[in-house]
Symmetry: C2
Subunit: 373 residues, 2 copies
């Protein structure tokens, strides 16, 4: 197998040339990790269109980065002023005096943007342009090693879900349920995790249910959404369970949502569009007159980040990206992210799947049952 | 006591008038929480200079927000288009057709900026300006209720540190040490926490040591930095311990760093500048010829966020803020964030303190010993 990092740079170089970009100046850890095998805070990576790579990291981190990263050049800087000078250094070293540099408009704050384009960093003749779509296009289709890593992350997600659901009982707080999931994921091999969501009772009806000190009560639904990071890759799983016996209405809504999610997964194959999958999922819910209970797009990509390209068409548009192309093999998506919000409570089931030649491979496998015990 | 939210709005209104701002349009959860008692993802809060407040949240979240937030107006929206229309609605409702609106330049990405200033959101006659300095000025000095909450968070931080340090032994991974801290913090009453840092051995020399699967070895130093969120407020504590018996060099560097940190805390009182404190801390290290082993600014504010205003002068400048004014009573800071990086390993001790009339009150109290057992 070719060195995957060389292959990524080669593809990137082609996309840069097509987009008229002479360099990329990246600061998002996930994008840096994709190209260099190391992504960290307060650092940057510059790629010239001929494929040369330069890294800038805090001075203290140089030796650590050398053991992890693939790169041609590395500089350590002292502080913000030093970072600006390192950027200037690479522009000079790569011979870029004019042209266009791509920046991550969906990541950079106004103030970070100001630093990266500071007159002491960027040559006056260089203009800037968003490069988010290039990173999305590259990262959307995984190579086999990436799929392997996501499979491992999915197993760790299953372990976390098991621990969380086994802890569900009256009196425990939402935060304590999250604690069980996180503890289990770290012990199963996660080095990190993205934000854990746990909501219960009436809070299962909110869009982003971060855990609180609310104590679970008998009859509550509990929604648990977790995302471990293992070897730099993530998985995304959500389950809803009941504390005790669900009502008929809860069970019916859950069964319907699960049916919609499973139908969507069955449809997820090469050639199908994200919009088609969204319609499949929403369609099953609408048939049962839940039109007013749907909120948010049900599908997104999973990889280095638990939520990444392909993004749902609506999201993509508003984040300055093109509508994603039809699915191809080795795209990894999460199906079921929207949820069914009835008002007093909501239900959601979400799984990470890989698009394969022989159909979808479901990576997160933890039991899909509303009954927790 | 006056309603603190009314008081905050009154002060904000004065600062807005002085800065020539007709409205603030906030999307950062921490800033929304400061004004409304609720801050969440994918939401916004608009404040008119006369003190009127409007909230926009996902449609699913309206009832939940009503139980938590202080506000005059609330609208639920369906998606990104709906959010844009809600913003337009408030501009109209507050009678703002021209003038200037303040946005969070240190928080908004380019694409979020594009959404908030979309031609269907913002009236054409309204221009935009950074409002970060207003939020910093307001949030820098805590009221007594905020100090109380930070005190509680500091106790939870101590609990987390105790659990982490008790778990330190050869063979355990950095991630497992983090797991112990996080688990203990959630069980002690944290609803959330900011990113946990755990580094060991040579990794204690890096600036932002996020946990990995590296296994602790006898003789390693281990650096643990944690930040629980309790009732919406944070604390910041860092300790370094040795797995087994430290070398003479490790002990000497640690003792010196602790001496520098304690001297700085003793100096932290009303009237003293952040720069003076930085000089105190660095001064003690430089006297022992560690000039080349210092990295990063040693002090920052703590509150709703574990790292907030007052920011170190260098950071502040590069993030578009003014140098912070001298300390006053009820400013809460964390002292000791820089660390001493010798090359093969580093040491750091950090505590959260409140500036009081009678001198500094040290809020995080967990034992400061390099010996873990």
């Amino acid at each position: 197998m070719n060195n995957p990092y060389q292959e990524r740079l080669r593809k990137c170089s082609n996309l840069m040339k097509a987009a008229g970009l002479d360099a990329l100046l990246l600061a998002k850890p996930a994008n840096m990790f994709y190209f260099a095998g190391d992504g960290r805070l307060c650092a940057f990576l510059m790629i010239a269109s001929d494929g040369k790579v330069g890294l800038g990291v805090p001075r203290t981190d140089v030796e650590d980065v050398k053991t992890l990263a693939h790169f041609d050049n590395i500089t350590g800087f002292e502080d913000e002023v030093g970072m600006i000078h390192s950027i200037a250094h690479y522009f000079e070293h790569f011979g870029i005096k004019k042209g266009t540099v791509g920046l991550e408009y969906t990541f950079l704050t106004q103030s970070m943007m100001g630093m990266l384009t500071h007159p002491h960093a960027k040559p006056e003749g260089v203009t800037v342009k968003d490069c988010t779509h290039i990173m999305s296009e590259l990262r959307m289709v995984k190579d086999d090693d990436e799929i392997k890593r996501i499979r491992v992350a999915a197993k760790v997600a299953d372990e976390g879900m098991k621990a969380a659901i086994e802890a569900v009982k009256p009196g425990i707080t939402e935060s304590q349920v999250a604690a069980e999931a996180e503890y289990a994921m770290r012990n199963a091999g996660a080095s990190e995790f993205w934000r854990t969501y746990v909501s219960s009772g009436p809070r299962t009806n909110i869009a982003h249910g971060l855990p609180t000190l609310r104590r679970l009560q008998k009859g509550d639904l509990v929604m648990i959404d977790i995302h471990p990071i293992v070897n730099g890759y993530s998985a995304d799983i959500c389950r809803t369970v009941c504390v005790g016996k669900p009502t008929k209405e809860q069970q019916a809504a859950y069964d319907l949502y699960l049916k919609a999610q499973q139908a969507t997964i069955s449809n997820a194959k090469a050639g199908v569009g994200m919009g088609d999958l969204e319609e499949t999922l929403h369609g099953v819910l609408k048939e049962e007159e839940h039109e007013g209970h749907i909120f948010g797009p049900p599908i997104h990509g999973v990889g280095i980040e638990f939520e990444e390209s392909p993004l749902p068409p609506g999201h993509a548009f508003f984040h300055g990206e093109k509508e994603p192309p039809p699915l191809v093999s080795n795209v990894v998506i999460s199906v079921g992210n929207c949820g069914l919000y009835t008002g007093p409570w909501g239900v959601r089931v979400e799984d990470t799947i890989a698009i394969g030649a022989a159909g979808p491979e479901i990576l997160t496998k933890y039991s899909r049952s509303l009954i927790s015990g």
